[in-house]
């Protein structure tokens, strides 16, 4: 009997059918992965984007022909090849860039074998990690919408994967994931603000040096030119007092003493206590938020009265440099007081004099010759300084960011051949001439200028404001700032650096167009600075400051944990409360609504309807219990049963019933 429908079967249950991943869901995941790769395109290997695009396109094509997935051997070969490619690109598998590239490679390989839901989850997890890598790589404000969009895309893909074989349409998926992300946001903010941060790293991570632009701790003629190309912010200063005048906006960074003919360097050792100073002119009190990358120098408006008020941050060196106590690999902020005029009351100690008079032997003979000539003609140091400045002013020197290359005798080449250079060149030449003429001199690097941001209320100094000038020792006055570039390009002193560059190069880089553009740019800059200060650079100190500003006296981990516990509980209970509300929503059906009103009203006079009681039986029971209501209740119950279970139910019937119920309910309540 072949066709017996039921034959005895073993107790073995059939295996659960694997949940296939529909094409629409696959596309969500692939889109999420591709966008994650695009967000990383700035720092992963060049081949990553083509690889990911190719793998995704191939995957979409292969989805139509299921048997096309490659075999194990082919996959292992691809793993080896791609790992080698990462190794060749970065010479390591460690670090952010190599790691992100490796992640892209692994996701591409995973796409070759993704069939089940689990495999797609892995691809999605990889995409999330790529988003993390993008966050680690770049934190500019303008990227945030992209990061948020990518997060939304990935959570939508998660929802699509979770919905199994019949996912809802894309719009509803997008809505669900957006709702969940928004609900999660309060907790994320709470954790962000109050989750205890660490004072340092758990383990050291390789820092990519070239990523940071900033003052170099040495100066060769090219180094400042490189900086001037960068629009990155260098520091922001908020003034308690009035803003310094434009010609006083010299931001002192590093003091360079030793010169080998091409490069100026900092002093190798400390030459004792700083010299006593006497200040004149207006006092400026201000706070500086300094971006990282200054090689341990704390930039200050020339000339600071002393080290920052928080002495743990840094100290003042013998040459009035402010040196940070800790490496400045993240933004720091400190308060200072400066005055534009100052006077040294002490004599210059001999070791420092010797340091600031030293010149490399056998270099720049023509310049030294020139110095001797000018020195012989001048009757004192003041006159000599003026003579050298006059020489620079009157001999056709040109300010340009693209000067001709200088040889081994760089000062000779500049003064007698090329006649082209920018601040670094002229500071270097001027200091050399001074030293050759017997006047102690050193080069100071820092920034000149600053742009007032009205919205943020701060002065923004960019890397492009980088500048170099000199200080010479004049007896009776002490260290005096001399900026030889100001003689060659006088505009530079009065205008922004940009204008000087624009004048020199014949092109401006930033738009100085309509006022609304300038206003927009300022708003954007203010937002950017807020973002950098408050979010990106939020760390343990800021966290403890925040606790203090919340009025908590104990600024410790216990307070943080307390806030976290309270806030987390609140958030969870809000979620739970919301969960109670939503599934039991108001019934849509007006008939049910009307009946509910009736039942609720009748609860006052009788026990509620039992689950097994139909409307008529319920009406009869209550009519029996309270005969006063019977006359109205009986027909109402019948009418409900008729409307609910009868053949027709017109809108006018419904309205009549509703009205009758409301009247009846009002009567009971009275």
């Amino acid at each position: 009997m072949k066709d017996t429908p039921l034959t005895p079967k073993g107790a073995e249950p059939p295996p659960a059918a694997p949940r296939n991943v529909p094409i629409a869901t696959q596309r969500w995941v692939l889109a999420g992965l591709l966008c994650a790769v695009i967000l990383n395109v700035g720092h992963v290997a060049l081949w990553c984007l083509p690889l990911a695009t190719g793998a995704a396109a191939w995957r979409i094509w292969a989805a139509q022909q299921p048997s096309r997935l490659p075999g194990r051997a082919a996959r292992i070969a691809v793993v080896v090849v791609l790992t080698l490619a990462v190794l060749i690109s970065f010479r390591t598998l460690n670090g952010l860039d190599a790691g992100a590239s490796l992640l892209v490679a692994m996701a591409a390989i995973k796409l070759m074998e993704t069939q089940r839901q689990r495999d797609w989850l892995i691809v999605l997890g990889t995409a999330l990690f790529l988003l993390l890598a993008a966050c680690l790589g770049a934190q500019s404000l303008w990227l945030m919408p992209f990061y948020a969009g990518e997060l939304w895309l990935l959570s939508t893909a998660l929802y699509a994967l979770g919905a199994g074989e019949t996912p809802p349409e894309g719009r509803s998926l997008l809505r669900s994931s957006a709702r969940s992300l928004l609900l999660a946001l309060p907790l994320a903010v709470l954790l962000f603000l109050f989750f205890p941060r660490l004072p340092g790293s758990l383990w050291t991570v390789p820092k990519e040096d070239e990523a940071v632009t900033g003052l170099s701790d040495q100066m060769d003629p090219g180094s400042i030119g490189k900086l001037i190309q960068s629009d990155e912010p260098a520091l922001r200063a908020r003034f308690d007092t009035a803003l310094p005048r434009r010609e006083d906006r010299y931001w002192r960074g590093m003091v360079l003493h030793t010169f080998d003919g091409t490069t100026w360097r900092r002093a190798q050792r400390n030459f004792g206590e700083p010299l006593a100073l006497e200040f004149a002119g207006p006092d400026y009190r201000y706070q500086i938020i300094l971006e990282p990358g200054t090689h341990g120098a704390l930039v200050a408006l020339d000339m600071p009265h002393g080290a920052p008020s928080d002495t743990s941050l840094g100290f003042r060196n013998f040459d009035d440099q402010l040196i940070a106590s800790k490496p400045t690999d993240s933004a720091i902020s400190y308060r200072l007081e400066s005055s534009p005029r100052h006077r040294n009351t002490d004599a210059l100690p001999l070791p420092v004099r010797r340091l600031d008079l030293a010149l490399p032997r056998d270099r720049n003979p023509r310049s030294i010759e020139l110095a001797h000539q000018l020195r012989a003609a001048a009757h004192d140091d003041h006159a000599y300084v003026q003579a050298v400045l006059d020489y620079l002013q009157n001999n056709g020197f040109e300010y340009t960011l693209t000067p001709a290359t200088l040889g081994a005798n760089s000062i000779d080449d500049l003064l007698f051949d090329t006649h082209q250079g920018f601040c670094g060149h002229y500071a270097s030449a001027f200091a050399t001439l001074m030293r050759a003429g017997g006047v102690p001199a050193h080069v100071v690097t820092g920034y000149l200028g600053g742009e007032w941001n009205r919205i943020g209320g701060y002065l923004l100094v960019r890397q492009s404001n980088a500048h170099a000038w000199t200080e010479v020792w004049l007896d009776g006055v002490g260290w005096t700032r001399v900026d030889p570039t100001a003689v060659i390009a006088p505009d530079k002193l009065h205008n922004d650096m940009d204008d000087a560059v624009a004048a020199a190069d014949g092109s401006g880089r930033r738009a100085h167009g309509a006022p609304w553009i300038a206003a927009t740019v300022q708003v954007w800059q203010a937002m950017n600075s807020w973002w950098q200060d408050q979010i990106v650079n939020f760390n343990m100190e800021r966290q403890l400051d925040l606790l203090g500003s919340l009025g908590l006296r104990d600024r410790d981990y216990e307070a943080l944990v307390g806030i976290l516990a309270a806030g987390g509980t609140l958030w969870l209970s809000l979620l739970a409360w919301r969960g109670r509300q939503s599934p039991q929503g108001k019934p849509r059906d007006p008939l049910t609504q009307a009946w509910r009103i009736l039942e609720r009203a009748l609860k006052r006079v009788a026990s509620p309807r039992a689950p097994h009681e139909g409307p008529i039986a319920y009406g009869e029971r209550i009519a029996g219990e309270s005969p006063g209501l019977a006359a109205t209740l009986r027909p109402l119950a019948r009418q409900y049963a008729q409307l609910r279970y009868g053949a027709t139910c017109t809108t006018s019937d419904l309205q009549r019933f509703e009205r009758a119920v409301r009247l009846f309910a009002a009567r009971i309540r009275r």
């Binding site: 039921l6 107790a11 997060l151 599934p583």
Partner: protein, 330 residues
């Protein structure tokens, strides 16, 4: 007879733990009767394996953010933690408030699979997705309930041996929306299935009484089955007796009705099966019942404890199989 899981999983710690927990749930929930609406008191939730892996990944992300002292990475990580917790509530919410409107179990043959039908009603305004209902160790079934609507889900259960089988517990679970968490509830309803003996053919059909040998043979030999008249199709009619040719010509669905001679019937009983063990004998009778039904013949059951008069059709089949299922030797 109470349901016990097949022996191969008796020593698995996970199955044991689940049984222990469900016994505890049984003792605190008591017996359930449909209709009932799930409340959070009886919904349990745990992360799935995917959920555990996801939390491990989040922890790695967190460490990376902490170590690089990167606020943005930490913010991303915290946002994802919140997201996962929100989906935990959604998972819970996909069961919370779901109404089980009915549950009934159909009989099945021993060692086969039976059907269990559970009715659901979703009073909420969102679709409840990725729901599963599972009776015994048979593969669960996925389903979803649209907002403000009801659905009836059939799920297979593993039938054990002949007799009464209690479906002690039903598990309704959901891993919506992401599969990171799984919420479930246990229902303990008075569901009892009659398990018929498994039909096993060992002997030919006993001869019909009251039907001449000749006509029986003639009918066999003629090759094509003869029928006396057609009557309209009824739900219980076997499909093989539908007059398809007439249907193809445009007639309504009709069923061939054999004009069996009055009193021609087979009496199925244990008399001729004394040499078989009882269960084998009952299995043989069950097979005969099915065979008679297939042929559309009239048959009677003659057991010592309970007999069923001659007849055929679904009701007759059910009466006979039930008698077989409940048969106990004196």
């Amino acid at each position: 007879m109470s349901l016990s899981a097949p022996s191969r999983s008796r020593f698995k710690p996970r199955a044991r733990l689940e049984r222990a927990v469900s016994a505890w749930a049984r003792s605190r929930q008591g017996e359930d009767h449909a209709p009932l609406t799930l409340q959070s008191r009886r919904i349990y939730i745990l992360p799935t394996r995917a959920g555990l892996v996801a939390f491990l990944l989040l922890f790695v992300m967190f460490l990376a953010g902490l170590n690089y002292q990167n606020s943005l990475a930490l913010l991303l990580c915290f946002q994802l933690v919140g997201f996962a917790l929100v989906t935990m509530y959604e998972c819970h919410g996909s069961l919370n408030g779901l109404t089980i409107s009915s549950a009934q179990v159909e009989s099945a043959f021993a060692h086969g699979h039976g059907e269990l039908q559970v009715g659901f009603y979703n009073a909420g305004s969102t679709t409840r997705r990725s729901l599963r209902v599972r009776a015994t160790e048979v593969a669960p079934k996925f389903f979803e309930v649209a907002p403000h609507s009801a659905c009836l889900v059939s799920v297979r259960y593993q039938a054990l041996s002949r007799g009464r089988q209690r479906i002690d517990r039903l598990q309704i679970s959901s891993d919506a929306p992401l599969g990171l968490f799984r919420a479930w509830t246990w229902l303990h309803m008075p569901l009892e299935a009659l398990i018929y003996p498994a039909p096993i053919r060992q002997r030919p059909l006993p001869p019909a009484v009251g039907l001449t040998q000749h006509s029986e043979r003639e009918r066999r030999l003629s090759g094509e089955e003869e029928w006396a008249w057609l009557r309209p199709y009824r739900d219980s009619d076997p499909l093989r007796r539908v007059a398809w040719k007439a249907y193809a010509r445009g007639a309504p669905l009709m069923v061939a009705h054999y004009d069996a001679p009055a009193g021609a019937q087979r009496v199925l009983g244990l008399d001729t099966l004394h040499d078989l063990p009882l269960e084998r004998a009952l299995s043989q009778i069950a097979d005969w019942v099915l065979e008679c039904e297939r042929r559309g013949e009239s048959y009677a059951l003659d057991l010592k404890q309970g007999s069923v008069a001659a007849g055929h059709g679904l009701a007759q089949r059910r009466h006979c199989l039930e008698a077989l299922a409940l048969y106990e030797p004196a």
